[in-house]
């Protein structure tokens, strides 16, 4: 196995074990969508559009007491090393499902009975951790669309690489490392909305990774807030730049 952490404790992209990749969030990037956002997290580049609340077709799928949330995580053919055919793969279908289940607890869907809310994620470039970056961006796009929310949702993976617990794995670390654990939380309510694990962790490693990811989610949450404030109140006014 390739050595993914050097003698100085630095990772192949120069990060420390508990360091996030560079993060950039923009709000309102698509004119037609009711809400939208763009995220870069390392080389991940994802654009998200939210449409809704809107009428449901066919009507019998509507619920009398709340809105239905639908998510579509999709990778552009050019987003990965080997061209990916445009049809949704099994992996994309599973990720669409867990993203929906990660966002739904934060939304007050009861406010919009008989409607649907569509969240479309397009991964323009994928670099490990695209589902987490996608959840982070989706929560921002939902807020941009004015959907009532109980809390934000922020997501980040932790895992194990070359025997060490590390934060926010990139593509190479995800593929060649020992474990990857994507996590999403509601940062104020302190609830886990997404948790997956691929690979082996001891009990202690799991706890360490979990704590590291929770802490990172809180940092990401601040970036989400800032992006929304920048859009709605202007950068200068809130003086956060």
């Amino acid at each position: 196995m390739k050595e993914l952490i050097n003698e100085k404790g630095l990772r192949i992209d120069g990060r420390k074990v508990d360091e996030l990749r560079p993060l950039r969030i923009e709000v309102g990037v698509l004119k037609n969508a009711d809400g939208s956002s763009y995220i870069e997290m390392g080389k991940n580049k994802i654009v998200v559009a939210v449409y809704g609340p809107k009428e449901v077709h066919p009507k019998h799928q509507a619920l009398p007491d709340r809105s239905i949330l639908r998510c579509r995580y999709h990778m552009a053919p050019f987003s990965v090393d080997v061209r990916k055919p445009p049809q949704p793969s099994r992996r994309e279908i599973e990720i669409s499902k867990v993203i929906r289940e990660a966002l739904e607890p934060a939304l007050i869907l009861e406010e919009y009975p008989r409607t649907a809310i569509d969240v479309y994620l397009e991964v323009l470039q994928a670099d490990g951790g695209s589902r987490c970056a996608g959840i982070t961006a989706s929560a921002v796009a939902l807020a941009d669309a004015g959907i009532s929310m109980r809390d934000m949702v922020a997501a980040c993976a932790a895992g194990k690489v070359s025997g060490q617990v590390v934060l926010d794995l990139n593509d190479v670390e995800d593929k060649e490392g020992e474990a990857d654990m994507p996590l999403a939380i509601m940062p104020n309510l302190n609830q886990v909305t997404l948790l997956q694990l691929d690979g082996k962790l001891t009990s202690e490693e799991f706890e360490r990774a979990f704590e590291m990811a929770v802490k990172a989610c809180r940092v990401i949450y601040e970036a989400q807030r800032k992006a929304l404030i920048d859009k709605y109140f202007g950068k200068a006014e809130v003086g956060e730049e």
Binding site: L69, R90, M181, L197, K200, V214
Partner: protein
């Protein structure tokens, strides 16, 4: 009051009752919170498959079959055999199952079962290579769900591991002309250990194991952990649009590690029983 409105009320009522029951540590079928339903396993039931198992967990019934064929490795793993897990929730399995390609629930099921086997390195795929980069064994595992009464994740996982453990295959070799041949000799699949999937449901603030369909209908969240022989967590999946508190996550990992040992013994005994029977 319309029919739909009424059914929402009924559902909430049922959930309230269930939460009350659980608060007394009781379940509708009189199990304890941490009790599995009876698990029965029959192996070797499909003679044309390399391995097979019918597993019943209460009234949930699944059959898994292993077929081993020759194929090409992926370009980025030339020195590994292939593992393909597919699950079909057959229309036989419930009044709500429909024929057609797997929906997102069936795809999630297949991928979580796959992850448990793959990430625990249960099968030593490096021993399934005939000509590196060109010819390897492909292990197809097809799981057919025949009757649904909750906890498909664990039942499918147990059927999968039971069919893998009991698989038999011809020994393949490469002859002097570079042709693949199969010898008369029969060999098992190269196995590293038995990963055990433990699925829990959160209903209200209570965690229970092995939920029935009735319990799944009212659960807030579902969480699965797969535990290997050394007590490592090797796969996990939270499901359903509910949440888990940080403490519930920790508790769930502890429950998984404890129950996994117990279930591993049951499965070993069941598989052994068949081998003798």
């Amino acid at each position: 009051m319309s029919a739909v409105k009424k059914s929402i009320v009924v559902e909430q009522l049922r959930k309230t009752q269930m939460i009350e029951l659980l608060s007394k540590e009781k379940r509708l079928d009189n199990r304890g919170l941490m009790d599995f339903r009876p698990i029965t396993i029959e192996t070797g039931i499909i003679e044309k498959a390399n391995g097979s198992a019918r597993v019943q967990v209460g009234n949930t019934q699944v059959i898994a079959g292993v077929k081993i064929e020759l194929g090409e490795p992926f370009p980025d793993t030339p020195d590994k055999g292939l593992l393909v897990v597919n699950t079909e929730v057959l229309p036989l399995a419930s009044a709500y199952a429909e024929p057609g390609p797997p929906d997102e629930d069936a795809i999630e099921l297949a991928r979580v079962v796959d992850r448990g086997v793959r990430e625990s390195y249960m099968i030593d795929l490096s021993k399934l290579v005939l000509i590196p980069g060109r010819k390897v064994c492909v292990v197809f595992i097809d799981v057919n769900v025949l009757n649904i009464d909750g906890n498909l994740f664990d039942a499918s996982s147990y059927a999968t591991i039971a069919s893998i453990i009991t698989s038999k295959m011809p020994k393949f070799y490469v002859d002097e002309n570079g042709q693949i041949r199969q010898s008369e000799e029969i060999t098992p699949l190269p196995i590293n250990g038995i990963p055990i999937s433990i699925t829990m449901a959160r209903i209200g603030e209570t965690l229970i194991v092995d939920p029935t369909s009735e319990e799944e209908a009212v659960m807030d969240a579902r969480v699965t952990f797969v535990v290997d022989e050394d007590g490592n967590l090797c796969a996990g999946q939270k499901g359903q649009p509910g949440t888990l508190s940080f403490d519930q996550v920790k508790l769930a990992t502890e429950i998984a590690r404890t129950k996994a040992k117990e279930i591993r013994e049951i499965i070993k005994k069941e598989v052994m029983k068949n081998a003798k029977g």
